[in-house]
Subunit: 222 residues, 2 copies
Amino acid sequence: MQDFPGRPVLDLTEQEICLVRTGGPVVSYPVGHQVFAAGEVADRVYFILEGLVKIFKLTECGNHCTVALRYTGDFIGLAEVLYGGQRTFYSQVMQEAKMVMIQKSVLESLFLQHPSLAVKVAQIMGARLREAQSCFFELASYQVPGRLALLLLKMAERLGEKSEEGVKIKVKFTHEEMAYMIGTSRPTVTAALKMFEKEKSIKKGKSGEIVVLRLDKLHDWV
Amino acid sequence: MQDFPGRPVLDLTEQEICLVRTGGPVVSYPVGHQVFAAGEVADRVYFILEGLVKIFKLTECGNHCTVALRYTGDFIGLAEVLYGGQRTFYSQVMQEAKMVMIQKSVLESLFLQHPSLAVKVAQIMGARLREAQSCFFELASYQVPGRLALLLLKMAERLGEKSEEGVKIKVKFTHEEMAYMIGTSRPTVTAALKMFEKEKSIKKGKSGEIVVLRLDKLHDWV
DNA sequence: TTTTTGTTGTCAGCTAGATGACATTCAACA
DNA sequence: TGTTGAATGTCATCTAGCTGACAACAAAAA
């Protein structure tokens, strides 16, 4: 998956967030809700106040590929709105999401009135681009255990909760979901996770979440 | 390879180009020249007036992966300059390049004085991001013949010269270079090209360039 | 509680494609 | 013109990982 955890990238400032909040109504969507779909007109962006949303693509034959996860503080749907195209990806809520829905025209006038916001958005897009290109590189260069280790490390950084034992990844993803993110199959993810468990790099928490015990050992896999 | 041919994306207007040209000196580099390398400070961008430049990454073990090609009218090195990081990719000239070299500080003041340029840059980054994510998807979903067919189609669109026979791809890439772009090995590219030749989707021109005879047949491979 | 549905664990069989190796052809250059 | 280095064509070998399948669980619903 692309620019997944990918650092806080470039968070908006307090003032910028206030600005963005004025851009439209706050909407709330449950898990599973489709925010947008390929083929639709890209007439609005969303700014995530809370929740987790994935960006993915489908083949005609049902093949699923997740290219990014977006969190609190991220925009989604920016790219196509900026360059004025149709949506080419799908977007679905993975954790109940509260978002500001901003019409394209409103976003454009925000940019005009606050040029620094436009610059900030350009920065965000730049960071996302390099992240996406890195993911391409990783997919091309590393095999499954390496890519999965990398995914876990990024998740630990982004969604982790430290304890004396290790880092607990607070969000639970199914093996299938992870397979979509690293371009492999579900059974292969299961096997690789078992392997990590056996070497004690990770363990399963009580409610099924993954706890990373040894970041260094995972790192050795890339 | 990522957002390779990827449409002219979003060309700058005449005025914008004039603006950019004032941003710094014009430099000329021969084939093979390294424009920047991973680890360097990202203190400038280049605007390509003429030529072809690739953006790539290397593993410690020498693995090479090309994530983008940039042409006349494109910026290179924007992403890291925008978000203020180190360079994480390498960049090398593939066809003699004439470029405007623009210092980061100059670019920033250009943005301040001309907010519309900042917006345009955000648009460009958005388009590049979606292109890069599409390439990730393609690498994850299609096998080599499909990815190579797609690459040839993009090249035909971007670097093609139409004739009654078909579309001649004006730039010559080695099989190895193409392998780097689609995440495969050189012999595999050779084999797939032979196959396309056998089914008469493509042929070799007199100076070794690829001529696409049947866009539709290539398209059937994805 | 039982039923249902989704998630894991595991496996046998198969294949795309990596690797390394080598011969051949081509292009550049002296 | 011959010489040299790079780019191709081709092959035998090996393996990561896909596919499909099924059993074992777990969680949620009835």
